[in-house]
């Protein structure tokens, strides 16, 4: 009976993979391409690790690698809850299955796929890199299997423990935001790797001494211990890994049983939070202008905070707009002109304004009956953006200038930032009307299938046009810097850039408004996909 279930679930996983590929040619190509890239990467790592065999710090490298791999497996289900449908045990809840055979079957199914294959390649490479002698290789086989199973069980246990969270609205909101952790984490890893590159692998040794006792890295650690003849230590390390596997499976089975015997949390209503904000228009509204302008601004600003997609986009823009100039300044490779990055990144938020509304855009469409209505709507959105962007871009510019101690350039960089921001707002408004596209609300995609081309035209075409539009101010900046005596005139760029930015924003909104008003049904159709 057990063998039956395992076979069925593994076949289910295979058919899910196959059916996923069958959906479209593009998807198949993407899958095959990513598989090739992952396997190539895995193979290269394998060769690299084998080549590093005998290197002084290789033992620290392999245990750390295994630990990072395990960490990856642990966080994967949090970021991609929909990635593996067999991961969601609630889908199997109606079937008359006992937890124990189900656990075995699901564990076997998780070993199918590119991810496990990639992990296997790396683990084999790590083992070969540190194994010396027949006994070490024999232990190595056990170690690889054990480490792989721990990784997979870890992913399953984390997914099962979080399924409540992942299926609730709040959980999905969090999942969207957690993508940011990856984006910003990648920057930090990049920063760390550069430090490591400059000071060598020797820094890893102390960390490696600790990590080789942590499962599943301890299994790989055992291979090295055997190579050195420390059989007692090796046995202890293997036992640790095996113990971890047993504990993880027990935890997972426990969650699974509870999930399958208690009601689904996602259908329970979130509790009401009375008295949160009693008034319709809070403090914010009183500071905003009256009429449509203030109403639109208020809604836009609320969405920056409350809508996970919008929030994620904003936090990304704010973080990258700060990180690029400041980190470059920190590393001594910076220039004050990098501060314009903040304005550029934040200006992107003006793009695809109506796509950010999703199909709720109908509420806007039913209240726009003239080009003037559309103008006020777009202007309100641009103003809401400026409320955050203007102080932030100024702050980043001043901060970068202070770090580089290049105060004479502050006015021209600020002027340039404002001109660029104006150009981004203008092109953003126009492309919002001309090239709207849907932003799916679930998952990580920011473009609905079939609209990728539209999104590229919108964003990249817009950015190039924005750069062209701000070229007069850029030209003046260059001129001021090139001509003799120009530096004494560089302050002029601040009012000039600000005035130019304001004028071009106004012109962009004026051009975009009649297009918006004339294309309301087309925009609604475009933003209602997905």
């Amino acid at each position: 009976m057990t063998g039956d279930i395992t076979g069925t679930v593994v076949r289910l996983k295979l058919s899910l993979l196959k059916n996923g590929l069958r959906q479209s040619g593009g998807r198949r190509a993407a899958y095959v391409a990513s598989a090739v890239v992952v396997l190539l990467f895995g193979a290269l790592q394998l060769l690299g690790l084998i080549a590093l065999r005998g290197h002084a710090h290789i033992d620290a490298v392999v245990v750390l690698l295994t630990a990072v791999l395990a960490l990856g497996w642990a966080v994967m289900p949090l970021f991609f809850p929909g990635g593996d449908e067999t991961l969601d045990p609630t889908r199997l809840v109606m079937l008359p299955l006992r937890p124990r055979p189900l656990v075995r079957a699901l564990l076997a199914a998780s070993l199918v796929g590119i991810g496990p294959l990639f992990t296997l390649l790396l683990l084999i490479g790590s083992t070969v890199a540190v194994a010396h002698g027949g006994a070490a290789y024999a232990v190595g086989v056990v170690a690889v299997v054990l480490a792989l199973l721990v990784c997979v069980a870890l992913a399953r246990a984390v997914a099962a423990a979080n399924i409540r969270l992942l299926t609730s609205r709040r959980g999905r909101d969090l999942a969207v935001l957690s993508g940011l952790v990856v984006a910003i984490g990648a920057q930090l890893v990049n920063f760390g790797a550069q430090r490591l590159g400059s000071s060598g692998l020797a820094q890893l040794a102390p960390v490696g001494d600790v990590v080789r006792w942590l499962p599943p890295a301890s299994a790989i650690g055992a291979v090295r211990s055997v190579s050195e003849g420390s059989y007692g230590i090796a046995a202890a390390q293997l036992a640790l890994a095996a113990g971890a596997l047993v504990v993880l499976i027990a935890v997972w089975a426990g969650h699974l049983t509870r999930l399958m015997t208690s009601p689904d949390g996602s259908t329970l209503q979130a509790d009401t939070t009375p008295g949160r904000r009693e008034r319709t228009s809070g403090r914010m509204a009183r500071l905003l202008p009256a009429g449509r302008t203030g109403t639109v601004m208020e809604r836009s600003l609320r969405y920056v905070w409350r809508d996970p997609k919008t929030k994620a986009a904003w936090v990304t823009s704010l973080a990258i707009g700060l990180i690029v100039p400041v980190f470059n300044a920190l590393q001594g490779t910076g220039s004050v002109y990098f501060a314009c990055f903040a304005a550029g990144m934040l200006g992107i938020q003006m793009y695809n304004q109506f796509g950010q509304d999703t199909s709720a855009f109908w509420m806007v469409a039913t209240t726009i009956s003239s080009a003037h209505d559309a103008y006020v709507e777009l202007r309100g959105r641009a103003l809401a953006l400026l409320v955050i962007t203007l102080p932030y871009a100024t702050l980043v510019t001043v901060l970068t200038t202070a770090m580089l101690d290049d105060w004479p350039r502050l006015p021209e960089v600020l002027g340039l930032s404002f001109a660029l921001l104006g150009a981004m707002l203008a092109t953003g408004a126009w492309t919002s009307a001309r090239f709207p596209y849907s932003i799916p609300q679930e998952g990580y995609k920011n473009v609905a299938p079939g609209q990728t081309g539209l999104a590229w035209i919108s964003i990249f075409g817009g950015m190039v046009s924005a750069a062209l539009l701000s070229s007069p101010v850029i030209a003046v900046t260059i001129w001021v810097n090139v001509v003799e005596d120009g530096d004494s005139w560089s302050w002029v760029l601040l009012p000039l850039g600000a005035a130019y930015g304001a004028a071009i924003t106004w012109a962009g909104l004026r051009l975009a408004a009649p297009r918006t008003a004339a294309r309301l049904p087309e925009i609604l159709t475009a933003v209602s996909k997905g």
Partner: protein, 257 residues
């Protein structure tokens, strides 16, 4: 002035190969409770979207209270209220914030919006959930807050797409009460549904839509004709009568095999 609330002429809409609406001519009388009925995929939503200006027709004209929807949007948009089906609301606003937003977008003074919103929330039994985000609302609550937003500016004609779909009986009764009070004041309600009992008990006037065409129209009695119920008349009109599913499933029932 004309006595028709809505006048549709030669309305067509194709999506690729598929014809969703195949030439509709229709006059909906003002001051009535009008039901637009038809099976799934008949073109009800497409028709209502085109009538309310949310979807551009391939061909044809639409007039609402004497104004062309596509040439005179200023006059039309202020006079209609819409509750579409399958489109989102601004769900990250609370119920009250959504009404405030919607009313102010329509240019009503803030104090008036707040007064009307309070009354609507009370009548629709949403006062307890007014500070909850709409994203956490149930289906029935969403329909009710959508109805409140559609009524807020006191439109002359109200278009509701499947207002009772997925709504519990208590909420349905509340929605019914509000709509009946609204039509009693002389306003027009046009709503789509495929629940015949509901249409029969609510509507004065019915149009039957199937495969993108109007199959019948008129007062309830006219459309029902000799049939014992609207349900029977409807099944005959759309050509689904006399189908019996009982013969092939002889194994069904009587305990597990």
């Amino acid at each position: 002035m004309t006595s028709a609330a809505v006048r549709v002429q030669g309305l067509w809409k194709r999506f690729g190969q598929q014809v969703a609406v195949a030439g509709i001519d229709l006059e909906l009388p003002a001051g009535k409770f009008i039901g637009l009925v038809g099976p799934n995929g008949a073109g009800k939503t497409t028709t209502l979207s085109m009538v309310t200006g949310l979807l551009r027709p391939d061909q044809g004209t639409v007039e609402v209270v004497g104004h062309d929807v596509w040439h005179d949007p200023v006059a039309v948009k202020a006079r209609i209220g819409v509750l579409p089906e399958g489109l989102r609301l601004f769900e990250r606003l609370s119920g009250r914030e959504l009404l405030a937003y919607s009313g102010r977008l329509r240019g009503l003074p803030g104090a008036e919006v707040d007064k009307r919103a309070t009354q609507l929330l009370d009548v629709l039994d949403l006062a307890g959930a007014q500070h909850k985000l709409v994203v956490d609302y149930s289906t029935g609550m969403r329909k009710k807050i959508g109805l409140a937003a559609a009524l807020l500016h006191n439109p002359e004609v109200l278009f509701l797409d499947e207002p009772f779909e997925g709504v519990d009986p208590v909420s349905a009764q509340i929605i019914r009460g509000v709509l009946e009070r609204y039509t009693a004041s002389g306003a027009t309600v046009v709503f789509s549904s495929h629940v015949m009992e509901l249409v029969e008990s609510l509507c004065d006037w019915v149009a039957v839509l199937a495969a993108g065409r109007i199959r019948a129209r008129g007062t309830l009695a006219e459309v029902r004709g000799d049939a014992p119920s609207l349900q029977q008349a409807f099944l005959q009109l759309v050509g689904a009568g006399g189908r019996d599913a009982g013969t092939d499933l002889d194994w069904l029932g009587g305990g597990a095999r």
